[in-house]
């Protein structure tokens, strides 16, 4: 069996940090210790100065297949994921057709088989994500679907959401909401505030997110079905989730890397690469979501990787679709945004074992992601160099699209190697296939 030694790094998992080499044989870790001698014939990957952690898990990836192959495919999206250190991604169901049916879910899972990262799928809550009739959640759950969401839009009708939660409660699945009250957000292309007022762009208020979040928290109180809240972006949302958790409601929440770093001031360029939904918010919101992550109110960082072909991002701001690439830059962006406030264990927890648990991909759920780096554990690993500096070149990204908001920016921290089931799929920041 092929052996591989990751040498000279600091192992980080839920148990803490320690200097150790990691020996991999086949698909599994077989030894974690200082000064492991490379067995004859073993490949050696240098991890000097690096963190060696369980592979990252993205709760929120738009792979665009089926229907949006111009922007991304399962293959290209998973290559981007591997380059970003991800061992697994949860594919969002807002494809064309939507993943609201077992046949579509099976197709996407099939496309993911040979990919550079594990592909899990989220199912739609309602047929066609129209917010009216429930999708066959039971059949989808039987295929292993654990998260359900109409992401791209929120479920507007409170009675539909109530039914969905009651129905899902029996299935042991989690409903994930894209919190956006459509009537309050209608016509808004950026965060409503000082910048939108000045730039003459219609805004969507923080309230559009918070009103639906507050409604959903009341529904969780009623139904006791677990909910996950996607890409929370406002100070008010962090407060609401903090109170809900203090009350003991079964809720989890994620924040995107871009909401941890960028503000609505970026929109002053009118470059639609800064158009995203929920929109980039104000500095106080950025501070609040950072604080929420540090505090543990927010459980996970999720990319909301949303590829769009260049021609659509060259439209006027109001006509361009919302969404940003995220997979290849996420860990570096979050490290930069939280440096000094969150240690390696805290940060990698938000990127790996906590999202793995939410997605049901962790060992306790029978999965192979986010577990400890220990003998017998699956060799889904990331080797991250927190000191490496690099400049983001949109053309050099492996996504099919180019809509990164970080083009030309220098980031600190880069994924050096990624192992998928023991296979070094990324070595020295290059995809191996």
């Amino acid at each position: 069996m092929a052996e591989l030694l990751i040498r000279g790094g600091t192992v980080v998992d839920e148990g803490g940090e320690r200097r150790a080499d990691v020996l991999v044989s086949g698909r599994d870790v077989v030894a974690v210790a200082e000064g492991i001698e490379a067995p004859a014939g073993a490949r050696v990957l240098d991890a000097g100065g690096c963190l060696v952690a369980p592979g990252l898990v993205d709760l929120h990836t738009h792979l665009r297949q089926p229907g949006g192959e111009v922007a991304e495919t399962v293959e290209s999206g998973c290559r981007a994921a591997a380059l970003g250190g991800y061992g697994a991604v949860v594919a969002m169901p807002n494809t064309e057709p939507a993943i609201d049916d077992p046949s579509v879910a099976r197709d996407v899972l099939e496309l993911g088989r040979g990919a550079l990262a594990q592909v899990a799928v989220a199912g739609a809550i309602t047929i066609g994500r129209r917010g009216e009739r429930l999708s066959p959640m039971g059949e989808l759950a039987a295929l292993g679907v654990r998260l359900f969401t109409d992401d791209g839009s929120g479920v507007q009708d409170a009675s539909v959401m109530r039914q969905a939660l009651e129905y899902a409660g029996d299935l042991g699945v989690v409903l994930a909401e894209h919190c956006e009250d459509a009537s309050l957000a209608a016509g808004g292309h950026m965060h409503e505030g000082a910048w939108s007022s000045r730039l003459g762009l219609p805004g969507q208020p923080a309230l559009a997110e918070e009103a639906m979040l507050a409604r959903d928290l009341s529904l969780v109180r009623l139904t006791r079905t677990p909910m996950h809240f996607l890409h929370l972006s406002t100070a008010g949302s962090v407060d609401l989730v903090r109170r809900a958790k203090a009350e003991g409601l079964p809720v989890t929440a994620e924040v995107t890397p871009h909401h941890l770093l960028l503000t609505d001031a970026e929109v002053a360029s009118y470059d639609p690469v800064f158009k995203v939904n929920p929109p980039l918010r104000g500095q106080a919101d950025v501070e609040a979501v950072r604080g929420g992550l540090v505090e543990g109110v927010i459980d996970a960082v999720a990319t909301d990787h949303a590829p769009h072909p260049p021609e659509t991002k060259e439209r006027p701001f109001e006509e361009a679709p919302p969404g940003m690439l995220g997979l290849e830059t996420a860990l570096a962006v979050a490290f930069g945004a939280l440096s000094g406030r969150l240690g390696a264990v805290g940060l990698l927890g938000a990127f790996s074992w906590r999202p793995a648990r939410i997605a049901g991909l962790d060992p306790a759920s029978g999965g192979r992601q986010g577990g400890p780096v220990a003998p017998g554990a699956p060799a889904n690993l990331v080797v991250f160099d927190p000191a490496a500096e690099w400049e983001v070149d949109p053309a050099a990204l492996s996504s099919r699209s180019r809509n990164t908001p970080y083009g030309g920016r220098r980031l600190r921290g880069r994924v050096r190697h990624t192992l998928r089931e023991g296979e070094p799929v990324v070595v020295d920041a290059r995809a191996q296939r």
């Binding site: 000045r198 009118y270 006027p316 701001f317 006509e319």
Partner: protein, 324 residues
């Protein structure tokens, strides 16, 4: 003036505005000549790109360019390849390839002129973008106020300090209001926005203005009443109950006009909807500067084009030598 584009009044600063207004004086003088034309931009090509229809503004810019002897190219969305699905970027790059010195851009979406600068080497002039800005309108408004003040005597021409200007109406959706607030306050005026909350921007943070929903409370203190057009489609939905109520609360009625200060001026960017923001007979009062605003638009736009294209060594007002 910094830069080679005019996207926002903020690009100009106070000095830039003053310079444009001074230059506009020269073009006002040119307009009085038998042949109202100078050779300053001979050989230069100015393209008007109106992705949103506006005959008045386009004619004003084209006249302004022709008075400088520039060649004028005209592009409008309704006659263009945009209708065949060509992207904005491809359209701009195509026109750029023909060799133009300035692009005058009007678009229904905020920020398009700013984006266009990335796709052309020409100077870009914002002729109105969405709800963002309409800088040449603000310049012609300043010019018109300055001219009227000069005629009534006393005051230094471009110093508007001590002047109280009320901008009445749909500020939220108005690019004219955004540019005017910047320009008027840069020149020292005190600006009061008069509108119901639904027609004010969601945030006035950083705006050098006061705001009120009570026109009658401020009317008598205003030196200039600047009325904005109410678009009929705003009424009857969420922002306004109906146009009659708007007229009753915010319209410049005959009765309100009678309570204006003695020398108060009435302005409007046009097109004016009589009976909504202004009573029909009030629009024709001597205090109304509306037609002067239109006339001055040509001078100010000539000044902007001259400034952007002729450069510091350009001759301002040499005589046309007869072959143009």
């Amino acid at each position: 003036m910094s830069g080679r584009h005019l996207l926002s009044v903020a690009d100009l600063g106070r000095q830039g505005i003053e310079e444009i207004l001074r230059l506009a004086d020269s073009f006002k003088e040119v307009a009085g000549r038998p042949i109202p034309r100078v050779p300053a931009l001979r050989g230069k090509t100015v393209a008007t790109l109106f992705f949103e229809a506006s005959t008045r503004t386009r004619l004003s810019f084209e006249t302004a360019a022709k008075r400088l002897s520039a060649d004028v190219m005209s592009f409008s969305a309704s006659t263009s390849s945009l209708e065949k699905g060509e992207s904005l970027r491809d359209t701009i790059e195509t026109i750029d390839a023909m060799g133009v010195d300035a692009m005058i851009v009007r678009h229904r979406s905020s920020g398009v002129p700013a984006r266009v600068t990335a796709w052309t080497s020409a100077s870009v002039v914002n002729a109105g973008d969405g709800q963002h800005e309409h800088p040449t309108q603000a310049l012609l408004d300043c010019y018109t106020i300055r001219e009227a003040l000069g005629e009534s005597g006393g005051r230094p021409q471009t110093d508007f300090s001590g002047l109280r200007i009320g901008i009445v109406g749909d500020v939220r959706h108005s690019r004219v209001a955004r540019s005017d607030v910047l320009a008027l306050s840069l020149l020292g005026a005190e600006v009061v926005l008069v509108a119901p909350r639904t027609l004010l921007p969601p945030s006035l943070e950083g705006w050098p203005v006061k705001a009120t929903a009570d026109l009658d409370a401020v009317l008598g203190e205003l030196d200039v009443v600047y009325l904005l057009r109410i678009q009929a489609e705003r009424a009857g939905r969420l922002l306004l109950p109906d146009l009659d109520e708007y007229h009753a609360r915010f319209g410049l009625t005959r009765e309100r006009a009678g309570r204006l200060a003695e020398r108060a001026l009435i302005m409007h960017p046009g097109p004016m909807i009589r009976g909504v923001e202004i009573a029909p007979e009030v629009a024709d009062l001597p205090a109304s500067l509306v037609t002067r605003q239109v006339r001055n638009g040509v001078f100010v736009r000539s000044a902007v084009l001259f400034h952007l294209l002729a450069g510091p060594a350009g001759a301002v007002v040499g005589e046309e030598d007869g072959d143009g």
